[in-house]
């Protein structure tokens, strides 16, 4: 049983995605428990697998018993083990938190919604766990296709925005596939570890460079790095809340993971940082992403669009930090990857909770919410502080590493961008808090007794507060996160070529 755990991480949510549809035919009430059980099993398996990795080092799982270069294998080490836990945890928290909203909005389509939800989780978990470059493409498309459908269920602009996302996402994934094709031409292999062993022996280096650039551009589109970000704010801002709070924290982070995996494991840092002169260019792109994203976020008058623009900024942090190429920058990028998933979950869940009570999506419509929804707003404040980077929330520590990385690399553009965007974040979030705290609540519509406190439903507030708690806990235990999960990934690199 223990030996088969890595397979369970994928197979349980995949089969449950089918099972949930059948459950939906029988009785709508069965859908949620089925999805919950599946994600619980997934989370448990991910934790057990990570425990095994911590104990014995990286493990390779042969799917169907086929030997690696021919069969598809799963490869789990410190880098993706912790991201597996993160993905299943975020999916689980969001599932619980959005139960009542989903039951309300998707009354007759519960089976379809939860099936897509689980397929999306399956796709992301598969991307993270797989050790095969082509398998990664297929799982990427599984995650993307269910993501398009989940995002397109909203009103207003949602469908058009989702269709634009289909175009951009397909171009991104196709470029990745083309890059993998070039790798296959020069090596005849698709297994990541095998590729890593074969690539140094290849003589036609220019083909490897082409394939690397194609992969990178494809992934940049998928993670919405600045000039390629246009699909993101629309797609996330108008999606149904339960889908947005699932997809916004996870998609960009998992794409970042793929970039890191490709650079560190497949193409090797030597090629990425020493032989190709692209590191500095990409850091400057990240600087542009940070500045442009901050300005874009500052301009927004709608809450969720603003939060979506902040994701563009956060992607800039992580891409820039990683491509600085030093230990501090990479540590910061990886730590921020973990933190940012939780922060984004926290603020999107809070926005979802607010949306259950306040129907206008504008920031001006948040008047007096601190008094009406104290717990939701408290969690929102914790999320906001984490994004700004105030200790003891987790955002501070990853930003600290990123800043150190920028200074160490002598890249003052990146350092300055980090500081400026933190200041802009303060402005943005204090604007929201000012409206929500100081301006009195005005009741235009229903409930003539304005004093009546209407907190969001309990099953939404509890997971939300738990997420906020995670943000503080991840800050307090930031040091153990770094030594436990991130240093085993970074330190072997620093011994070597860099």
């Amino acid at each position: 049983m223990i030996l088969q755990l890595p397979a369970l991480i994928i197979i349980v949510p995949l089969l449950a995605a089918l099972g949930v549809i059948i459950a939906g035919w029988l009785r709508n009430a069965l859908c949620f428990p089925a999805a919950l059980a599946a994600l619980l099993v997934t989370l448990l398996s991910a934790i057990l697998v990570m425990g095994q990795v911590m104990h014995d080092g990286a493990l390779i799982y042969r799917l169907g018993g086929w030997e690696p270069p021919w069969g598809i294998s799963f490869y789990i080490d410190h880098l993706n083990g912790v991201i597996l836990i993160l993905v299943s945890l975020v999916a689980l928290i969001n599932l619980i938190a959005t139960r009542s909203v989903v039951a309300q909005v998707f009354k007759n389509r519960l089976g379809a919604f939860y099936s897509l939800y689980l397929l999306f989780a399956t796709g992301l978990l598969g991307i993270v766990i797989t050790g095969d470059a082509f398998n990664l493409y297929v799982l990427l498309e599984i995650a993307s296709l269910s993501g398009y459908a989940l995002l397109g269920m909203g009103g207003g602009r949602a469908r058009l925005a989702s269709l634009h996302y289909v175009f951009m996402g397909t171009i991104g994934a196709s470029l990745y596939l083309l890059g993998i094709g070039y790798l296959y031409i020069v090596t005849g292999s698709l297994n990541m570890l095998d590729l890593a062993a074969l690539l140094p022996t290849v003589e036609k280096v220019s083909l490897i460079h082409v394939s690397f650039i194609l992969c990178l551009v494809g992934l940049f589109i998928k993670m919405a790095l600045f000039p390629l970000h246009a699909w993101l704010p629309n797609a996330y801002a108008q999606a149904p809340n339960p889908s947005a709070s699932l997809i916004a924290p996870l998609t960009t982070k998992v794409m970042l993971y793929v970039m890191i995996r490709m650079v560190l494991t497949v193409y090797r840092p030597d090629l990425a940082f020493n032989r190709l002169p692209i590191g500095s260019l990409i850091v400057w792109l990240a600087v542009a992403a940070i500045i442009a994203g901050s300005l874009l976020a500052y301009k927004q008058t709608r809450l969720r669009r603003m939060l979506a623009c902040i994701i563009v900024v956060e992607v800039g942090y992580m891409v820039g930090g990683f491509w600085l190429g030093n230990a501090a920058g990479m540590t910061g990028a990886l730590l921020h990857l973990l933190n940012d998933a939780m922060m984004t979950l926290c603020i999107f869940l809070a926005a979802g909770a607010i949306a259950t009570r306040v129907h206008a999506d504008t920031i001006a419509g948040l008047q007096g919410l601190f008094r009406k929804m104290p717990f939701t707003m408290a969690a929102f404040v914790v999320g906001a502080l984490a994004i700004i980077g105030v200790p003891p929330t987790c955002g501070f520590f990853s930003k600290w590493y990123l800043l150190n990385g920028g200074i160490e690399a002598g890249h003052f553009g990146f350092t300055a961008a980090l500081i400026i965007s933190s200041l802009v974040n303060i402005l943005i979030f204090f604007k929201v808090m000012e409206v929500a705290y100081f301006e009195p609540f005005e009741n235009h519509h229903h409930h003539s007794n304005g004093q009546f406190i209407q907190e969001a439903p309990l099953d939404m507030v509890v997971p939300l507060l738990a997420t906020a708690g995670f943000l503080i806990a991840m800050g307090i235990y930031a040091h153990s996160l770094v030594t436990g999960f991130i240093e085993p990934v970074i330190s072997p690199l620093m011994m070597g070529s860099l």
Binding site: E141, L145, G152, L160, F167
Partner: protein
């Protein structure tokens, strides 16, 4: 002799015509996605883009004077005997990979068309600028 031989660039293009075909198809697809106003034309462009990459994989699997990767006289007549030469068959792996990629592209097409249908039902048009106009009017009414 000199007068008859092709210039280098022409030889380069003709010798690699399959890759040029793929590149041209990709650009046609990309152009349609970026420049066309009609959503269905954009979707067609997207599909052409994907097909270009599928053809790329198929073309890297071919070998000179090789046949399809099905072993002749596979059963009974000593399938394991020395008669099989790998050089005589095309590489089956990229073709198998592309079976999966075709399934993926059909699924993408399905999702894109479903979204287009639901957009059409709502706005009664597939021209992007007209949809955007209606959306703007809708948002103004809300504010």
């Amino acid at each position: 002799m000199k007068g008859l031989s092709m210039p280098d660039w022409a030889e380069f293009i003709i010798a690699n015509y399959n890759y040029w075909g793929v590149a041209v198809l990709m650009m046609i697809g990309l152009y349609a996605i970026i420049a066309k106003n009609n959503l269905v034309k954009k979707i067609i462009g997207m599909n052409i883009f994907q097909v270009a990459i599928i053809l790329f994989y198929i073309t890297i699997a071919t070998k000179l004077e090789a046949t399809i990767p099905i072993i002749r006289h596979g059963h009974g007549h000593g399938a394991h005997a020395a008669g099989i030469q790998a050089a005589g068959y095309m590489n089956p792996l990229p073709q198998v990979l592309m079976l999966t990629a075709i399934v993926v592209s059909v699924a993408t097409l399905g999702v894109a068309l479903a979204l287009a249908v639901s957009i059409y039902q709502r706005y009664d048009t597939l021209e992007e600028d007209e949809i955007l106009e209606q959306l703007k009017a809708e948002e103004l009414r809300q504010v």
